[in-house]
């Protein structure tokens, strides 16, 4: 049975104070829910998204067969996170371009009646800010405690942050392919992508909407860089290797074009295609905001870098999952979190999945990965009598 998903929206009139000192008011959060909240309201699972995703986590939209949610392979009736048992909530974060209030929406604090869009004036939002906004959404839905909060990559950072900001509201945190903060190299890749966007002449300091242009050149480059870091060297070699675009018969040696401008290798046309596609739908200001949220996340920062101290507040039980070929957020980074939790004698399960797909693995079907998730959520369902 396929879920038919229905996007919803909740409006918040009250100001949300942000970590930066700024605040947002009169904002909306887009969300979707799947399954049914039980009478005790103990079976809610919140899904936090990463860079290029949204509240549309599972199911399809009516009449649109190809509109599967981004984690539909894991979440649904009878799936690893079983919506016959759990009430699953997908939420789109502030600053996104997929429905919740973001840079392309009118700024209520702009010049009166101007209808001026936020653009670059949308305040910097952090993982902690997103979690606060998500907590208000749960308040609105009448949910006090989550059976689990689950996220991959940047979503995993939100899941981790939930256990620190609202320890009493989270029973389980499932943190997949994530890290306790970005390394210098991670920040470096984000910075190059941001510079590609902000130096695109069509960026106009972030106020490009009113000019009717989009900094597509920069978005394309940003996405191409991103894609390289999502894949493993191995999977790239297997998928593309040094194969040329020119179609050749078996055994024939394709000729080089000897061009610096044409896409010569398959990996090149793949990256160009991914870049072009992304630039058509993703927002440049959102890209900046989301990569900055990644850069800033660092719960150990206020504890002189001591992650164990930072995680002492967490009372949830944890499942951490990492993937061997993920060089963006390597298993080493997940192990740092595991270690810090163990120092605090927390209940932690950890699975290091031997998968070839790099960081992308967290979104893909892998029998061992899905089996770990299924058995962990099975045990949660028993615990909360879902």
């Amino acid at each position: 049975m396929m879920i038919i998903a229905t996007p919803q929206s909740m409006h918040f009139a009250d100001r949300l104070p942000l970590q930066s000192g700024a605040s947002l008011r009169d904002y909306s959060l887009s969300f979707e829910t799947y399954g049914t909240l039980n009478a005790d309201k103990t079976n809610a699972v919140l899904i936090c998204h990463a860079l290029n995703a949204s509240h549309h986590v599972a199911g399809v939209y009516a009449g649109k067969e190809k509109s599967e949610g981004w984690w539909d392979n894991m979440i649904g009736p009878g799936k690893a996170v079983d919506t016959n048992l759990f009430f699953v909530i997908g939420v789109n974060n502030l600053g996104s371009c997929f429905g919740s209030t973001g840079p392309m929406h009118p700024n209520p604090d702009g010049p009166a009646g101007s209808g001026k869009l936020y653009g670059a004036d949308f305040p910097v939002v952090t993982v902690e800010d997103w979690v606060n906004a998500q907590a208000r959404l749960l308040d609105g839905l009448g949910i006090q405690t989550l059976a689990a909060v689950l996220g991959g990559s940047l979503g995993g950072m939100q899941a981790l942050s939930w256990t620190l900001q609202y320890p009493s509201r989270v029973r389980h945190a499932v943190v997949v392919a994530s890290a306790p903060n970005l390394t210098a190299e991670n920040i470096a890749f984000n910075e190059v992508a941001r510079r590609a966007i902000t130096t695109d002449p069509d960026f106009h300091g972030g106020h490009f909407y009113e000019r009717g242009v989009v900094p597509k050149r920069g978005l394309r480059i940003a996405r191409m860089i991103g894609h390289i870091t999502y894949l493993s060297d191995d999977v790239m070699n297997e998928k593309f290797g040094r194969r040329l675009r020119a179609v050749v018969k078996d055994g024939e040696l394709g000729s080089y074009l000897y061009s610096t401008l044409e896409a010569e290798f398959q990996i090149e046309s793949y990256l160009r295609y991914q870049g072009d596609k992304f630039a058509e739908y993703f927002d440049a200001n959102t890209y900046l905001l989301i990569t900055r949220a990644l850069d800033y996340f660092d719960p150990a920062r206020s504890y002189g870098g001591d992650l164990s101290q930072a995680l002492a507040r967490a009372t949830a039980k944890f499942l951490l999952v990492s993937f061997t070929t993920d060089w963006r957020f390597s298993p080493k980074r997940s192990r740092e979190i595991v270690k810090a939790l163990l120092v605090n004698r927390r209940d932690v399960s950890y699975a290091e999945i031997d998968a070839p797909h790099g960081h992308d693995a967290f979104l893909l079907d892998d029998a061992r990965y899905m089996s770990v998730m299924r058995s962990y959520f099975d045990s949660i369902s028993k615990e909360v009598k879902a």
Copy 2:
């Protein structure tokens, strides 16, 4: 004693046929020499350069103390490659922007008398083409056989190619931090850098000289990407970590700026600085040409991917050196060359240096690395009675 270097130039009227089918005529190669050619002409060592380097390998220019050649730490009187023993030749490759004929020079095959610059019409040059041009330079210098050809990274590919194109003219090939071809990921990084340049509105299809502009935005991005791949994750963490630009006293916690546009972390300002500097002096067309030469190099290609077969022609003795933290051209790639040579029962030495500096290590001082180079070149000097 410091060498005072003197750049020289050699003109070639005859057409150089290129791998692509195109050709170059009336071109010049810039070069420098250090030390003295012995009477038997057996002590010549050719140095091949990588992306961002030139014929200025060692010494300084008269009156310019800070103008050390790019491998001055290794090459000079009493150094690992001792110019008291060897006659060392540095040569700038065709298509470069440091002196030899390149895209910013007049195209002799352009419209008569137009003086039109090559720009994007400069033909694609390959590693093999460069080696052919270098062989003509040696002819001009009256040198039949090289005691050694030495290069790092892309320079190592040239050294390897010398042993295949002119096996009888090379006694020793020293191939440092190199690879038998690029992986899909290597090509991917090159492609993103190229796209940043070619989609810069100031690129004008490669004919930007006549418009008096430079595609600096693209060059900056290209360099930033390059820098990330030259360094190791470890050395970036050690050098920059998550440190902020804001100067803070010991023990104080610097404040985040909460900005998507400002450089917040030290790694960001480092990369921006490197990008800005590069865009001031490097040529965009040269960047495209050199990265394409990297992409295309693949001696095993004509042998169905069988590197052992490809290297069967080589008769030189080899030293290969790789660095443990080099993820651009990892030790694994050097070992592929070693293995293919051993299959052919060639004389191969191999040193895998445990160094933290990533790909950049081949340019840096490292006691073990320098000691390996010194002892290898000592033995060459005895062999050739230098």
